[in-house]
């Protein structure tokens, strides 16, 4: 499946407030086509393109940094609640749910970062190809340093979250096949989005017909199996009786 389509699907599946915060891949592609079809004088076309890219990057950065800030605050709160629950006075069920959702959202932010980066890299490659310019290499350098791509902090928060999760979920005997039970709508959305993201990654890594910068090695079988055994949840929550 083409990246544009995959991106679109991701956006559809994502949290509602995030939908307009993704890279405007389609628009950028249109611009590239426009530029290559009827190239105005060399510099102005490139400037225009760069300006649009900058604006997009600014959008991505703003959103990302804001989400990150939220996560920092929420994490601290969760840690306090976690301590309370560990000491015995707190609702285990609700904190479990909250921590899992929190974890999920952070991972989705990482995914957001990754997807947008991929889009940018692809657009730049298209641009270079269509116009014969050498914009990609230096520009992608800058992108790599952008806040939205430097996800170390979020990654750390995720790991901290995982250690909390270890503590609040009892030992398990291995991955059993469990039917999807009722869960809140929040879990549904996060779950669906996570599935979509995983599917995207799997596709990305399957090996494309056009070997490109992102012909990443295929994922090992465990993932494939996992995805195969799991069905995406139905939009209608399956209520338990």
């Amino acid at each position: 499946m083409k990246f544009g389509k995959r991106l679109k699907r991701q956006i559809e599946e994502t949290l509602p407030e995030w939908r307009d915060k993704f890279l405007s891949y389609k628009d950028l592609k249109k611009l590239v086509r426009l530029i290559s079809a009827a190239p105005p004088s060399g510099d102005s076309a490139e400037d225009q393109f760069i300006r649009l890219l900058d604006a997009e990057i600014h959008k991505l950065n703003s959103f990302f940094v804001e989400q990150e800030e939220d996560f920092i605050i929420r994490q601290k709160e969760l840690q306090e609640r976690f301590r309370e629950v560990m000491e015995g006075h707190g609702d285990m069920t609700s904190i479990r749910k909250d921590i899992v959702n929190f974890h999920g959202e952070m991972v989705l932010l990482e995914n957001y970062s990754s997807v947008n980066y991929t889009g940018l890299a692809k657009i730049l490659k298209k641009y270079d190809k269509r116009t014969g310019a050498l914009l990609r290499l230096p520009f992608i350098e800058k992108v790599l340093k952008q806040p939205f791509f430097t996800t170390e902090l979020v990654s750390k928060l995720v790991k901290d979250c995982e250690s909390m999760i270890e503590a609040i979920f009892p030992e398990r005997e291995g991955m059993s096949r469990v039917e999807r039970k009722a869960a809140g709508a929040a879990e549904q959305i996060i779950f669906r989005n996570t599935m979509a993201a995983l599917a995207t990654i799997e596709e990305l890594r399957k090996g494309s017909s056009t070997y490109g910068h992102f012909s990443l090695p295929p994922i090992g079988s465990p993932e494939a199996d996992l995805l195969l055994t799991l069905q995406p949840p139905s939009p209608i929550p399956i209520v338990m009786n």
Partner: protein, 410 residues
């Protein structure tokens, strides 16, 4: 004063996660990763960046430190000075020695020479080389790229990253004026900054001291925190977020507005608690997996770009080497002031060029490269025959390495 700006600058460039104005050289604020490699990474960056950073004048330090996208001219100045630092050739050439065997193979196989290739085709080559590299990746690493294996290489590559030679004019800032020129208006009026857990802890401390989130005022919090570069705008927005989170911790954790809690409160549900736990567990597993995959992917993406840069450098080296080889005889060169260095450099360049040639030939054999490579291997050597005769044993050895790699691809 100077030190402050310097450290501000350093932290800014380093990770963008350092809290504004609060930079303790000893600790990695905002970069408290558990991974040793990341810590090393930050240290490397800090060291090299501080060597090259520009002391910003007082009036600009605020915007600069506060915004992650400073105004374009400052940025391009910084871009020029920090991304492409002049470096000794030895640093560059030491690079392959610092990496592990696996990535060494990848590196050497990816380096492409051929001065006959025009600059315009570099991106195509980069692409091909990346494919090549990734194929090797596929072969050498089974499923997951083990981060630990990459560790030495990532350190080395980052070291290299900060010691680039100055790139020739053709590479330098295509469309230079507008490089990531941010909305300077926006950054001037509402500077964005990146919060860190440490900074937030300070914030919470201040708020608690001042009577809680409802009673504390932004101004007093700002005063209490005493963090340089922090503005009342930052505090205001952060306080607002903080208040929202505190009001109903459970609700805010719903995060997604259409959180449906009623099903949980349903009495008949409590019997199925175990199932909910199972569902949550499953969800977490999935999320964990996604997280892992994303990390791997990100590392790969970074590495791919490293390769690209490496290629660019080697290409430049190639060109320089070729030009220098056209220079007069060694004995004449010795009469120049920096004679020893020059001849050493030339030797090394020649070596590297030879190396690249070798690799190039291997690559060519396997990939059947494009039109301009139509000549049979022997003709591609751009160097006079005498030079190539001098070091056949070395070539043989290198050739063997490449053979092993190339065979895996066939």
């Amino acid at each position: 004063m100077e030190r402050e700006f310097k450290s501000n600058h350093v932290s800014q460039l380093d990770t963008y996660t350092s809290s504004v104005g609060v930079v303790k050289p000893s600790s990695d604020i905002g970069f408290t990763s558990d991974l040793p490699e990341e810590r090393q990474k930050s240290n490397v960056l800090l060291r090299s960046q501080s060597a090259n950073c520009v002391i910003m004048p007082p009036s600009t330090s605020y915007t600069y430190a506060g915004g992650y996208l400073p105004s374009s001219d400052k940025f391009s100045q910084e871009f020029n000075e920090n991304s492409w630092c002049p470096a000794s050739l030895e640093d560059i050439l030491d690079y392959p020695d610092n990496v592990t065997a696996a990535s060494n193979q990848i590196q050497s196989n990816c380096a492409m020479s051929a001065c006959s290739i025009k600059q315009n085709e570099l991106s195509d080559l980069t692409e091909l080389m990346n494919d090549y590299c990734l194929e090797l990746f596929n072969e050498s690493d089974d499923n997951n790229v083990q981060p630990k294996v990459d560790q030495p290489s990532s350190n080395a590559s980052l070291h290299q990253q900060n010691t680039y030679p100055s790139i020739s004019s053709s590479m330098e800032l295509v469309g230079s004026a507008s490089w990531l020129s941010p909305s300077t208006m926006a950054s001037a009026t509402k500077p964005r900054m990146r919060w860190t857990p440490e900074l937030h802890d300070k914030f919470v401390e201040a708020v608690n001291h001042l009577g809680g989130s409802e009673r504390a005022t932004p101004k007093s919090v700002l005063k209490f925190m005493q963090v340089d570069g922090l503005t009342i705008y930052h505090i205001k927005s952060h306080l607002q977020k903080y208040r929202t989170t505190r009001v109903r911790p459970g609700l805010s954790e719903g995060a997604v507005e259409n959180n449906n809690n009623s099903s949980i409160q349903n009495p008949s549900f409590s019997l199925k608690c175990g199932d909910i736990t199972e569902a949550l567990r499953l969800q977490v597993e999935l999320q964990k997996r996604l997280h892992e995959q994303l990390e791997v992917q990100r590392k790969l993406q970074l590495q791919i770009e490293e390769q690209g840069k490496y290629l660019q450098i080697m290409f430049e080296k190639q060109k320089d080497g070729f030009d220098k080889l056209k220079a007069p005889f060694p004995s004449e060169r010795l009469s120049e002031p920096t004679e020893n260095e020059t001849s050493e450099k030339d030797q090394k360049e020649t070596e590297s060029v030879h190396q690249m040639n070798e690799i190039f030939l291997e690559v060519e054999d396997i990939h059947k490269l494009t039109n301009h490579q139509s000549n049979p291997p022997d003709d591609i050597r751009p160097y006079p025959a005498s030079e190539s005769d001098q070091s056949p044993p070395e070539k043989r050895k290198r050739g063997e390495d490449e053979d092993r790699c190339s065979k895996r691809l066939c």
